[in-house]
């Protein structure tokens, strides 16, 4: 079958449409603020071999990690039936960190398996040593319930035993059940849409264009990389650890004709802190940077990444092995990996690469009991300053790079949980100075009305986000506890602590770095 460039463009709309519609269903029927308000999820379509055909533009950190989930499901099962749904979260078998529960289900044309669809949503609690399941752990087992690829639904029948086992291991089973059924609903929608495409246009045409779309993206990607300067570029930056020490991450990027290679040799070995990442997350960070460097809007699928190789020696903090703790790797270390890849490429693309952004997601989990005695687990992340680009100021108070989740409205949060927000604003002057200034960080102050356990995973509390070409650094972040009697305590970037009624937690997120020196710029 010949590829018609016009029909191909039409299929691009169709496949993206499937993934987007899954996302809309998931979000609108979910129960936890984390999915419905913050939109912390991704949906994608894969071909029968597990190659990603389309991913709705949701969360960059899921870019490389969604294909890994599909691959794990394919490794584990061969007896696919219509109505199957596989669920998993094992970071070492298709997952990224435990709170991200991924579902994968097959789509059939008559008796043949032709596509897979997948959804991943961050669940606010999956058990483990602290509410919210982003603990200061030293091994994976402390982080929550580990789910290898298993069938949650078998030929359309929900496996009640699996579900009850799962719900028995989490702090907020009703909310989990609601979110899981929202995820299932999104699969029903995705399946219906793909089936009707196949019914209308025939299996052969739909599959052919799925693979042509990947070839198309590969062509654009290679053409672009070929226009880049061949060379080898290196960079190193630190990830901050709970004990106030830090660990180096090192990258060597090689651009060679139409290929690009990332090698993390030289990075510190596996940590006994929850800041390791699995290879899929490291890969996501590299993919993200490449997509940002593209000048054309390109359909995001497996073809984009054929010219890209990412490698690291085993048992490093960017390529951890079981049972290393990984809770914060997905959300924090992934940001640092992005920074160092950008640092390396700043030498190849001085007119494109921005200064460092806030470099953290400021993960906050709060657990306790509501007024009626029922347990709750709340998760949110805070935006901060974006690094200035060579031609633009950085944005203030936004999520950067690997995340783009939204905030939870103060009025929604206070109606549901026993804490209040005293202040939510931008920190004036916290962006790095320069001809183009870094974006400003956010301040958010929580006042507790009842006892609660708070866990924080946050970075850039000691090493400020760097500027580029003479631009100043962004202001470092800060976590403070102000007790009911007014006593202020500076907290570490990573902590778990009990807060009492009247206590205040004040979080100040980092500003972005500035770009280019400029004597006439506003002082910051």
């Amino acid at each position: 079958m010949n590829m018609d460039p016009i029909v191909l463009e039409i299929y691009r709309h169709r496949f993206i449409g499937v993934a987007e519609e899954m996302g809309v269903t998931l979000r609108r029927t979910a129960h936890s603020p984390n999915i419905k308000e913050r939109a912390d999820y991704s949906c994608a379509v894969f071909d029968a071999h597990g190659n990603m055909v389309a991913q709705a533009a949701h969360i960059p950190v899921h870019l490389g990690a969604m294909p890994a989930s599909c691959a794990a499901a394919l490794r584990t099962f061969s007896d696919w039936k219509p109505g199957d749904i596989v669920i998993l979260n094992d970071p070492f078998d298709g997952g990224n960190h435990l709170p991200d529960l991924t579902m994968i289900s097959p789509v059939f044309a008559h008796d043949d398996l032709v596509f897979f669809i997948a959804s991943r949503a961050h669940h606010a609690d999956v058990g483990g040593m602290s509410p919210g399941s982003l603990p200061l752990s030293s091994e994976l087992f402390q982080e929550g319930l580990i789910i290898p690829p298993i069938k949650l639904c078998d030929a359309g029948h929900l496996n009640e035993s699996v579900l009850s086992m799962l719900l028995a291991n989490v702090r907020t089973p009703m909310e989990r059940k609601g979110d899981l059924s929202a995820q299932q609903a999104s699969h029903a929608v995705g399946q219906r849409r793909l089936e009707s495409l196949i019914h209308e246009f025939g299996r052969e045409e739909v599959c052919t264009y799925a693979s042509s779309l990947m070839d198309y993206s590969e062509r654009i990607m290679r053409a672009t990389i070929e226009s880049w300067p061949n060379g080898v570029y290196r960079y190193e930056d630190q990830i901050e650890l709970p004990d106030n020490k830090s660990a180096p991450i090192h990258v060597t990027v090689k651009i060679e004709d139409s290929n690009i290679y990332f090698d993390f040799t030289g990075t510190q070995g596996t940590l006994d802190a929850p800041l390791n990442t699995v290879m899929a997350v490291t890969t996501s960070a590299c993919y993200y940077v490449i997509l940002c460097l593209m000048e054309d809007e390109i359909p995001i699928n497996a073809g984009c990444f054929r010219p890209v190789r990412v490698q690291s020696p085993p048992d490093t903090l960017v390529n951890a092995s079981r049972p290393a703790p990984v809770a914060g790797g997905n959300v924090e270390t992934s940001q640092r990996i992005t920074d160092i890849v950008l640092g390396a490429l700043s030498k190849a693309f001085p007119d494109k690469i921005p200064a460092a952004s806030q470099g953290t997601m400021n993960n906050l989990t709060i657990g306790g009991n509501s007024a009626d005695g029922s347990p709750y687990a709340y998760y949110e992340t805070l935006g901060g300053g974006m690094g200035a680009a060579p031609d633009a100021h950085g944005l203030s108070g936004v999520h950067v790079h690997m995340s783009n989740t939204r905030n939870t409205p103060v009025e929604a949060l206070e109606m549901q949980y026993p804490f209040q927000i005293n202040e939510y604003g931008l920190i004036r002057g916290s962006g790095g100075g320069g001809r183009f200034q870094g974006g400003e960080g956010i301040v958010r102050e929580y006042r507790f009305l009842a006892e609660a356990v708070v866990t924080m995973l946050s970075e850039r509390r000691h090493h400020a986000p760097w500027g580029l070409y003479g631009g100043g650094s962004g202001r470092k972040g800060k976590n403070l506890r102000i007790s009911a009697d007014g006593q202020r305590t500076l907290l570490s970037g990573h902590f778990t602590r009990r807060f009492y009624p009247g206590d205040i937690l004040r979080i100040e997120t980092p500003g972005g770095g500035g770009h280019s020196s400029d004597k006439n710029s506003r002082s910051t």
Partner: protein, 677 residues
């Protein structure tokens, strides 16, 4: 006055100001060039030229509010918030506009930092005053407001939808010191939860209000006693003086008139009160689509210029594909159409104004689907140059390695695919089967693309209104007089069913508000009540009707309606979960009994197609069809004919491909149906 009450509709667009005059003698239509610097100029001169009876009321669609907002020409506005929350407006929902881009910009907020003020006070999530409003913070505020010479003020405090005491205290305080500055309180405009969306909506109102007020006052002055009504985003009209204080309700009124007119036209044409139609309004840079399942759909989840505006508006989905969308081949070899547009200047290549990148209009022209010499009634100054279009598309065809006709049909297919995706989103993806709907195309280009788009969705019936190119102005004549208001009501439905009195009290409050905005003889106003409901724990609501008066039975059926709506929209419902109400909406409507004049004269039921001149039209790239060229003005009720045919008229062109059949009804609408093979 005669049986038909006379009325004038004036719709101001970017290029033309459309007039539709309904008098006992019939319907008149005309267009004048818009006077952008002062829209009322074209309106007043139009009324003079056409000597309309001095008492005939005017129904007006204006873009004043929309332009003030999008072009940032609104008032110098101050925002007053709870201490600690002045930046909510700037942070928004903390997401960045583009996922994959290093260099990004956001438009600055409508109120700059130096004009955002905080006052010391706090209402908690139960509506209790936790901290009294501090009078000293008010006097500080007053001196700043005076010093900065603000022109409009927005007041948004946390949880004011539960307790408005502090917002009202601030209003009273400011009024005594600065009496004539307009103030917008979030508790008046949008007493609903979610602080960012409420702040954004309130600020938009404060920002556009002075411009709208000034414009409407000026226009009314020129009208010398003629009564003036304006179109709102919800598809209803309101007296101009009432509309001005809640000017944000006009911001999305532009596309609402067209949908209203399409709906009323379909009501008449199919003699039903609940027509099921999908509207397709294809303009120069974008296409608006709406699905009407027996009613005009309303939403409160609109975003304009990246700012949420949570007031009821006709639910319209917009995509960046229109007659002026540019067609280009990208570096991967794919043909892309839009979202970049040639705009009004230079416009499509065939306008001869220097454009060189082909557009959708150029593709239509090259394929013979438009007649260049007949564009806009055949004014020689507007004749289209097909040669220029052909040249531009030939260039594109070279990079695609295909013929000019293949490239041109390709452009149309890609543009149609974009519109098809929009139509799928509002139909299939929202749980509606498009095959059960009639497509109503309008705008200059809608009727050109309608049959092919219908085909791709399995739609077999199309209704082309008599004047598709001025349908928005027609809508002004057809729109009801409407006033609406809402209020947060966070309560479990079970609790309301056992004691509906809190709901009853809110409905009475809302009734007083909406009736105060209608003429005093408005006792015949119909009241429509809706509840925003969700399953406990969800964050998105579905709006369902509630029969008045509210009592346990009507509340139970509202719950039922919610389960059904949830099932329709998301494919499942969960009857075991408790249902929760979030907001109450009340709308008062004085219906307009508009009937467009019938034409009784019946034509020859079978027209001789051989009587018509022929033109070559490409329906596919391989070979042209010899196609009859017909003038819409010559068609009379009762006529029937089969495609292919090209029907041209002053304000649009209708393309009928082979295998489609046309019949004309007594209102001169074209009913186009797919012939069963």
């Amino acid at each position: 006055m005669s049986a038909i009450r006379s009325c004038i509709g004036v719709d101001v667009g970017g290029t033309f100001t459309d007039f539709v005059v309904l008098e006992s003698s019939g319907l008149k239509i005309y267009k004048l060039q818009t006077t952008p610097e002062n829209q009322s100029q074209a309106i007043l001169s139009g009324l003079k030229i056409f000597s309309v009876h001095p008492e005939t009321p005017i129904m007006h669609g204006t873009t004043i509010a929309t332009n003030a907002l999008l072009e940032r020409q609104g008032a110098k506005t101050a925002l007053i918030t709870t201490r600690g929350f002045a930046d909510v407006l700037e942070i928004g929902r903390q997401d960045r506009p583009h996922l994959y881009a290093f260099s990004q910009t956001k438009k600055p907020p409508l109120v700059s930092r130096s004009l955002r003020f905080e006052v010391s006070e706090r209402i908690n999530s139960k509506g209790k005053i936790q901290k009294e409003l501090d009078p000293s913070s008010l006097s500080e505020l007053m001196s700043s407001l005076k010093e900065k010479r603000v022109e409009s003020i927005a007041i948004v405090l946390l949880f004011s939808f539960l307790n408005d005491t502090h917002e009202r205290q601030i209003e009273t305080f400011i009024k005594t010191e600065l009496c004539d500055i307009p103030m917008t309180l979030s508790t008046d405009l949008l007493p609903e939860y979610r602080e960012y969306e409420r702040t954004s909506t309130t600020v938009i109102n404060a920002y556009v209000r002075p411009s709208v007020q000034h414009y409407l006052r000026h226009l009314e002055g020129g009208l010398k006693g003629r009564s003036l009504y304006v179109m709102q985003s919800n598809g209803g009209t309101l007296k101009a003086d009432q509309a001005a204080s809640e000017a944000a309700r006009l911001v999305l009124s532009g596309p609402a008139g067209g949908v209203t007119a399409a709906f009323v036209t379909a009501k008449q044409a199919f003699s039903t009160d609940t027509p099921h139609i999908i509207t397709l309004d294809m303009g120069g840079t974008s296409t608006d689509v709406a699905l009407c399942p027996g009613r005009i759909p309303q939403t409160t989840e609109t975003v304009i210029g990246d700012m949420p505006l949570r007031l009821p508006s006709t639910e319209i989905h917009t995509v960046g594909a229109g007659g002026g969308s540019l067609a280009q081949v990208d570096r991967g070899g794919l043909l892309r159409v839009g979202p970049q547009s040639a705009g009004a200047d230079p416009g499509p290549v065939c306008y001869g104004n220097g454009g060189s990148i082909p557009t959708v209009t150029d593709a239509n022209l090259v394929l013979g689907r438009m007649v260049g010499a007949e564009f806009l009634g055949g004014q020689t100054s507007m004749a289209l140059d097909e040669g220029l279009s052909r040249q531009a598309i030939a260039h594109l065809a070279e990079s695609l390695h295909c013929s000019v006709e293949e490239a041109a049909t390709g452009i149309l297919r890609v543009a149609n695919a974009t519109m098809e995706r929009a139509l799928r989103r509002i139909s299939v993806e929202s749980g509606y089967d498009p095959r059960k709907y009639v497509l109503v195309p309008f705008g200059g280009a809608g009727p050109l693309h309608a049959c092919e788009i219908a085909d791709s969705l399995g739609i077999t019936k199309i209704l082309v209104p008599r004047y598709p190119g001025v349908l928005s102005a027609m809508g002004l004549l057809m729109a009801d007089l409407v006033s609406d208001a809402s209020k947060a009501l966070l309560s479990m439905m079970d609790a309301l069913i056992s004691d509906p009195s809190p709901l009853g009290a809110i409905i009475e409050q809302l009734k007083a508000i909406v009736q105060s905005q209608l003429p005093s003889d408005s006792d015949k106003a119909e009241l429509e009540c809706h509840l925003d409901l969700r399953y406990q724990g969800q964050s998105y609501e579905l709006t369902v009707p509630l029969d008045l008066p509210a009592h346990p039975t009507s509340l139970k059926s509202a719950c039922e309606a919610f389960h059904r709506a949830h099932h329709q929209r998301y494919g499942h419902s969960e009857r075991e979960l408790p249902v929760e109400s979030v907001a109450v909406r009340l709308l008062a409507r004085i219906p307009k009994s508009f009937t467009s004049p019938k034409t009784e004269e019946l034509g020859n039921p079978s027209m001789k197609m051989s009587d018509y001149p022929r033109v070559n039209v490409y329906f596919s790239a391989d070979q042209p069809h010899s196609t009859p060229l017909m003038y819409r003005d010559h068609l009379i009720p009762g006529c029937r004919f089969e495609g292919p045919a090209l029907v041209i008229q002053y304000d649009s062109t209708v393309l009928i491909p082979p295998h489609w059949e046309v019949s004309i009804d007594q209102w001169m609408n074209l009913h186009v149906a797919l012939l069963l093979s």
